[in-house]
Assembly symmetry: C2
Homo-oligomer: 202 residues x 2
DNA sequence: CGTGAGTTTGACCAGATGGTCAAATCAAGA
DNA sequence: TCTTGATTTGACCATCTGGTCAAACTCACG
């Protein structure tokens, strides 16, 4: 492996292919359920070749998670203290719901990790995530104190948004088993919109 | 193994110990992440001894899931068409929240299974679960038509209840990383109560 | 071209894991 | 107590899986 040079064309291509394949495999089988061979095959590489780019299975998983954490938290980052309270929150919820629809693999990757006690990202939770949430809940509390939105426990408000939106990605099978052919997001969007309008109305 | 006789004292004790141990292990590591040895040790048995009671790892998992499905759906079963609509629904939500608090392993067992596409219980979802949900959403729609509660998409209403309540068990690590020392359920109970009162108010 | 770095692979290894089996031990009723 | 079926186990096996390695191959560039 090159020491610290700029990545070659081949390196870029293969690293990307590996991470893409790993996202597929890890998100649908969990860390333990995924095999290096499976990821290699899906990436179109041999196992030793894959291990030339990432030293261990763990390293692939870590690279994937840390690379995706930013994407995952982006919607909350965008919550703007200067916007209209109700519209800011509803827009955040809409963005989260879109992520469940467009990036379900990413959602399940994190879900798998969290359900099993987050053995590999616990640190990020109590540092990065905690800090971001505290920053944004402060904004929410400000809006509550100004009477712009209803008084609610800010942390539980955030939890409810995560739970409601990610549910559609993480428990997709169950949702579809109930809904049949109906598109989940068709009904989900107006539902959560209504729910939070009623909840947040001062 | 005895053919079809009534289970002996020892059989009862060991089968129970195995299922209890399996619940611990499967719920915190998923099916693939759990090892038979681990379950055996936790149950106080040797591996071959465990396999004397259940022929395969798969069989333990199946027995566990099907045995627990009933428990899991019980709260919804209790929803009574003849009760007061608002109070019936709020009571259902309270029962679900209590289950997240008191039976988090069971919740995570199902969560693990569902996140990975429910390879082992898909059938139960589209039969048992679907039937129960349809039966109960019919009641909800009845109440909506009578103007007793707000008009909402009944399936998504159910999903929201599942999502909100099970979130506290399934993503416990994350919830605690944010809340710190605060007891999650202390705040969750009034929060969801308020949320659904506002949502369901006609 | 030629060359050295970058890339790929077949063969291989060690440990983990699900499962088997024959033999030993135990329990309870006749 | 004796007998028979129930229970338990040590030893073992095949397979899977993460990871290694030396040798071969390919590419970019002087």
């Amino acid at each position: 492996m090159s020491k610290d040079r700029a990545p070659t064309r081949i390196q870029k291509k293969n690293r990307a292919a590996i991470l893409e394949a790993a996202l597929n495999v890890f998100s649908s089988h969990g860390f333990r359920g995924a095999t290096v061979d499976q990821i290699a095959t899906e990436a179109g590489l041999s196992k030793p070749n894959l291990l030339y780019y990432f030293p261990t299975k763990e390293a692939i998983h870590t690279a994937l998670l840390s690379g995706l954490l930013e994407t995952w938290l982006a919607p909350l980052h965008e919550l703007d203290a200067n916007g209209d309270p109700m519209e800011e929150i509803l827009a955040y919820i809409r963005r989260k719901l879109e992520m469940s629809r467009d990036l379900p693999r990413e959602s399940r990757l994190f879900a798998n990790e969290l359900v099993q006690g987050a053995p590999r990202i616990q640190d990020s939770l109590s540092s990065d995530l905690k800090i971001l949430v505290d920053e944004k809940t402060a904004i929410l509390v400000g809006w509550m104190d100004q009477g712009k939105i209803a008084q609610l426990h800010p942390y539980h408000l955030i939890f409810s948004i995560w739970a409601l939106t990610q549910h559609y990605a993480d428990f997709d099978v169950q949702v579809r088993a109930i809904l049949g052919d109906e598109d989940p997001f068709e009904g989900a969007e107006p539902f959560v919109d209504t729910l939070y309008r009623k909840l947040l109305m001062p």
